[in-house]
């Protein structure tokens, strides 16, 4: 994707005009995308913000997203009360190398996908069953030996969780997950 030219003035973050309630302890999950300068230390800054202020990181991905490699997109899934999530966005927004912060969960529908590599070790009936389930999940086999498979699976987090759960009884040996990548649906861009 092409991020918007960085010299467009950063629109002031929309302050929440609905009243937040400190007594509302309902936790919500938020998928937040952050467009940052691709410079050294920027990821440490974001992670340090979360650990230093005691916020949760449920998933985190980062990669350059423009042709010149000048900007990176960080996708972070976090959880907390509405007041905490608003704080997280405001704290991210005031970091110097941050261009834009979008709350994909709040701002409208979005798609979120994760990639997982799943190693299953087994033989005989277990192996056949693992293969059959992989088929229904549309997982690809990216490595195979007589005693093992490495499946590649993409999808939403729930789908990947479900696949891994099923593999537990079939010789699940190791999992590597990418964390989620996410975009708003429709024409909206960050």
């Amino acid at each position: 994707m092409t991020p918007r030219a960085p010299d467009v003035p950063s629109p002031a973050r929309n302050l929440v005009h609905v009243m937040l309630s400190p007594t509302d302890t309902t936790q919500r999950s938020a998928t937040i995308s952050v467009l940052v300068d691709n410079e050294s230390g920027v990821l440490a800054r974001v992670i340090g913000l979360f650990s230093g202020r005691g916020y949760n990181i449920d998933s985190l991905t980062v990669a350059p997203v423009d042709a010149g490699g000048l900007h990176s997109r960080i996708n972070v899934v976090t959880s907390g009360t509405s007041m905490v999530i608003e704080q997280i966005k405001a704290q991210l927004d005031r970091l110097v190398p941050v261009h834009r912060v979008a709350d994909l969960t709040m701002d409208g529908p979005h798609v979120a996908r994760e990639l997982a590599l799943v190693k299953v070790i087994g033989t005989g009936e277990q192996r056949v069953e693992a293969m059959r389930i992989a088929d229904t999940f549309r997982a690809r086999v990216v490595d195979t030996t007589l005693g093992s498979f490495v499946f590649e699976l993409t999808g939403n987090v729930e789908k990947i969780d479900a696949f891994i759960e099923l593999m537990r009884d079939l010789g699940l040996a190791e999992v590597s997950r990418s964390g989620i990548a996410a975009l708003a649906r429709g024409t909206r861009v960050i």
Binding site: A12, G41, G48, R94, V96
Partner: protein
Amino acid sequence: MSAELTQSGAEILLRALKDQGVEVIFGYPGGAVLPIYDALFNQNAIRHILVRQEGGAVHAAEGYARSTGKVGVVLVTSGPGATNAVTGLVDALMDSIPIVCLTGQVPTHLIGNDAFQEADTTGITRPATKHNYLVKRAEDLARVVHEAFYVARSGRPGPVVIDLPKDIVINPAPYAEPAAQHPSYRPRTEPDLGQIAKAVALMKQAKRPMIYAGGGVINSGPEASAALTKLTRLTGFPITNTLMGLGCYPASDPQFLGMLGMHGTYEANLAMHDCDVLLAVGARFDDRVTGRLNAFSQGSQKIHIDIDGSSINKNVPVEVPIMADAGKALNALLAAWQASDDPVDKPALASWWREIDGWKAKDSLKFTQDMKRGGIIKPQYAIQRLFEITRARGKEVFITTEVGQHQMWAAQHFHFEQPNHWMTSGGLGTMGYGLPAAMGVQIAHPDACVIDIAGEASILMNIQEMGTLAQYRLPVKVFILNNQYMGMVRQWQELLHGSRYSETYSAALPDFVKLADAFHATGMRAQSVDQLDDVINAMLDCPTAVIADIAVDQAENCFPMIPSGAAHNEMLLGPEHEASGAGITDAGLALV
């Protein structure tokens, strides 16, 4: 690199500093910054003040910045030079003070090798600064310096570190002019006029309004204080200041209710508790101000002006958030107030003032001074006399403080009419702040009277800076309220820990008069109330730096006090008043 690059990185660095208007650097040399010191040696435009410890350099730069509104500049070496600066950086971060701190670093090819005096300075200072940079390429140097100044002073100001590997300052580097615009960091300063209109509508209908103004007003510049004063007088609303905000509204004005918060006045805290419309400007609802959050100003609708979006709705949810520069928002409010035909509820306002006057009559800062010959000096009285005598003399006075009871008494009993004349470590509460900060103030205002109101414990934390005062003939006055205790901690032990004074007695104190003498300053001492005025006058008359050791009542506690975890209307008043307050809950005991 092209052949016409004739200037070294160090020279380019100084050129960029000059272009940023830098006149003074507070620093301390070492191996990694030798090339920069060499470049400093060869020029006259920038003055270097040699401190005695790097921590002192940052506090001095803070004092310089806070008393002038300019960016304070620090230069320290790699490793221990940088780590010594960290406390000052966090102090500046918490109190939103614009600082650019240049740190030396080992040459780029040695970074990561555990080289001599290597420290991961950008790693260590990442959470201690607003932003930091490691310059790895000569062509980035000038741009980074300009950017650092822009970041330090824009939006909510703060400290910025530039880590400079030795090869970068030795090798030739190109110069670059400041960029027209920063690519990503462009904080919003203009208020949303829709929100301003909402704010004025709320303020017009208020029956029990209150204005709560903090350090953001001072950071915004003197115009913001002027706009605040105008708006407050026009509306007739009562106003309180935070510790950081003192001076942004004239203390002598009858609408001023004094400071609020843990050691604020009875009237300020009760007015906060009972108001129906609260206008917060450049203040961040910190725990020393709010007391127990779920009891904080429950009945009020709140308007919050702050340039830092993350300060809004952080601790206290507000009805009308306004993310803007305090001065611009206040001027917009002023214009909208004047343009609005909505009536104000004058009878309600009058009865609100009657209620406030009732609280004022309690005289919550009252103390009794025994005026007999030999009477023990009350610390409050010492500050009161310092204030009265300096005011009578008419010379411009700047006050810095250390941290403890003396700091709170200074905030309560020294009164400020103008912004930028009161420098105290609010957010971090750094003992050892006051002396170096006073040094920085005196550098910026050579003819003014600069006084560090100190405690005998705090002053020892950066006492080495007396050497700097001597070297540059800075006539800073150190006014020690010597209660022979870490008084503020002792007070908490008395009130919360059964008077078990664990490790808070200031044993083996130096003879401060001799100490002054050893540092080429003048020492003096007041033992009893009859000596106080003479010592203050002698101190103010003295052309050199002074340490005035004022022996004060050791048992005195700082009141009023809202204990941790208590509400504004559960204030403890002093022994002058009948029993009051709710005392401290178990939950409160766990709080700081």
